[in-house]
Assembly symmetry: C2
Homo-oligomer: 432 residues x 2
């Protein structure tokens, strides 16, 4: 039985209890959210030692880090380093997007060593294996794809991205739209190419019940991928994107009917003034299923800094309803992220999520900021560094920039406003 | 005659023409904006070789970089390096906030070598000089302060931050408010301490006409400082802050009456959901005077990453009406920025400004993104790197992460969505 079916049966599972405790929210609210699908707890029954995490309405905004090999960088050890970095930086989930080397081995190592939920995009492995199996990877069959999905579910993957909404109807709308970047989702692009080549419907759509059945068996959360997500500002919120979202909304309900947990994935590249509308639309069309957004990045012109462009978009998205942010690293649009890129990406997304949690009224969010404010007021550096979202970096920078034992910092030195206020107004102001 | 007086007399100055050309906007609109005070062109008559820049309504969002010595780091050469870095990264203005070493010499070198407008906060120098001159720097006199203002105006400073709104009334409201961080503006904190110590009104408020007269003589733009800006989320948008803003709004009109250009400075630390309200309020209370914001940063917990927290806030602020973003570097709250911090700060602010310009409809803003989108679609790396907001960094990262001559990138390799679409759908999709 999935977490959702158990919740509907009124059974408060250990996972729900743990989520409730972590969030500081009543277990009843978690149970109700999971029962209704507004909260997902991705938790494959085969994933041993998982510390379950809730994603959805009323909860802290979560952050996912993508790792995984690529054809040019097949070294699993490097990806394990990135896993440790992502966890250390505070990622709530990790996706293994491996496409190079021994994909099964890499996934196994990640799942075995990962206390947070693990996601994958099974079509990647299906494509790579088809390349070895056939003359041309386009010869992949629907059974090849479902075979990989089943194997990954059995291996303990907690959530899988499945581009079920890339239908012939959606592709036709895309064709009419005349986008600049067409399809930028790897899975979406391959699926669309495959469908047009074979002149058949998307098997993930046509055989959706088969997919739901696999998910049900292992309690895999379906993350309905947005194959048509915009790849540039010019393509945002167009008919193709919204048509796919409508279909995803219908598929959400079909999964829920069977007791399968679902999330919906969202854009992408979106101008500032379209982000909130995208969130409202998803929440309505998908009946408040948890929304998992990639970015959104708010300008196309900043390769090397897309952790920042996506922190801007992610903060507004989370504030407007997104529940789960997929990190974007400085390497986006340029190459595979390094360890440092992973760290920068996780922290930037966590900043975005936390900034949103403060104004969404997530329990305890603002308390953290107020504690930091008091530490600053008191020039209590030890407290400031311990409270920092990245204590390691903050401590290193404090050390680099200031002589040992300095009371203020080298920005203002003795002219420190906190110190001046302390000296001249100290007794005249109320203390907190 | 100031740019404003000339505009009112209907004289289209070379500076206005140059601004119009740079912005791609009709010179008449610039002239009208300057005449009404909605656009400022900070341009001290003594600043030789300045390439004038317009700040305000309808124009591209501008970015300022703060540099300058501190008591611990008095080396002018290091600040000159930062000046070059800031200019190279695309800063539209630079503020010299020096408080260490030979302040006059540092300012002179910066002005002599700076083609963008230069700002200062004269009270910093007045404080530092009082420290040498008196037993206690609190003995500074109003004439000491005005003496520094006059000297800096004669030296060619284009705009000065003056905390004219820190009045006894405002301090009384602050006292009643009970903030966590009281005053975090260096100038504001010192002024408030000085006023309370001497039990007299702020000379920058009481002798505002004297200030306006100096500004008029040299066409120094007054940047009315927000001494009461919130230093943490908890203190944002409180009575003290808004009381000061009301007073600044009155002072804006008094400067305009004399033909003196004015900008108004704004917060600070502001939660996501209060940023737009702050911008609307300033625009109303200050009759659309250009708004110059420091950040705002949207969470207090990220020292080491405040270029990101402020890029989030800055993007929303600029979208909601802010005209001029003061950068915040990763060193904020930790120490004096290094050269690399300066670069990171300028680029982060430029990203925020550009993301906003796209949705504010600033002429030409979106074209840049669309060009990048086309370059991506065509896998034209040379065009992508040249179009990048930081071409140097993007090029270095592309080189580091990818083997020479690679057509795609190491993120997806041969499974590149752009390539897949090109191969399978290439002829079936409309080309842009």
């Amino acid at each position: 039985m999935t977490q959702m079916l158990k919740a509907r049966a009124g059974e408060l599972t250990p996972a729900m209890k743990e989520v409730a405790e972590k969030e500081g929210i009543s277990p009843d609210i978690i149970l109700e959210g999971v029962a209704k699908g507004k909260i997902a707890i991705p938790y494959n029954i085969h994933h041993i030692n998982l510390k379950p995490c809730g994603i959805g309405k009323g909860l802290k905004t979560k952050v996912n880090a993508n790792i995984g090999t690529s054809p040019q960088y097949p070294d699993i050890a490097k990806e394990m380093d990135k896993l440790r970095t992502a966890l250390d930086a505070g990622a709530d989930a990790v996706m293994d997007l491996s496409t190079g080397g021994d994909i099964n081995a890499c996934r196994k190592q990640i799942i075995d060593n990962c206390p947070v939920c693990v996601g994958t995009v099974p079509i990647y492995q299906a494509i790579v294996e088809s390349k070895g199996k056939y003359d041309n990877l386009i010869q992949m069959t629907a059974d090849d794809l479902f075979g990989v999905i089943e194997k990954q579910a059995e291996d303990g993957v907690d959530f899988i991205t499945v581009h079920c909404g890339v239908t012939l109807e959606v592709i036709e709308r895309l064709r009419r739209e005349g986008r600049i970047t067409d399809i930028v989702s790897r899975g979406g692009a391959f699926l669309a190419g495959w469908m047009l080549h074979h002149e058949i419907e998307n098997p993930l759509f046509e055989q959706y019940d088969r997919l739901v059945e696999i998910a049900l068996k292992h309690d895999v959360t379906l993350s309905l991928g947005d194959g048509l997500r915009p790849g540039c500002l010019a393509d945002a919120t167009d008919k193709a994107q919204i048509q796919e979202l409508i279909i995803l909304g219908e598929l959400v309900e079909r999964a829920w009917e069977q007791g399968v947990q679902v999330m919906v994935e969202g854009p992408g590249h979106v101008p500032l003034d379209q982000i909130a509308a995208n969130m409202v639309l998803q929440k309505r069309l998908c009946k408040e299923a948890p929304f998992y957004v990639l970015g959104p990045i708010v300008t196309d012109v900043a390769p090397g800094y897309d952790h920042i462009t996506s922190a801007i978009g992610g903060a507004i998205a989370a504030w407007s309803g997104a529940d789960f942010l997929c990190y974007v690293t400085p390497a986006e649009h340029l190459g595979l992220p390094t360890d440092q890129d992973v760290r920068d990406g996780v922290i930037a997304s966590r900043i975005a999520g936390h900034a949103a949690d403060i104004v969404k009224g997530v329990p305890g969010a603002r308390k953290w900021d107020d504690s930091m404010a008091r530490a600053r007021k008191n020039l209590d550096w030890e407290a400031q560094l311990n409270l920092a979202i990245d204590p390691v970096k903050a401590r290193a920078m404090r050390k680099d920039k200031n002589p040992e034992g300095m009371k203020e910092c080298t920005m203002c030195g003795e002219f420190c406003a906190m110190k001046v206020i302390g000296e001249y107004l100290g007794t005249e102001f109320p203390k907190c």
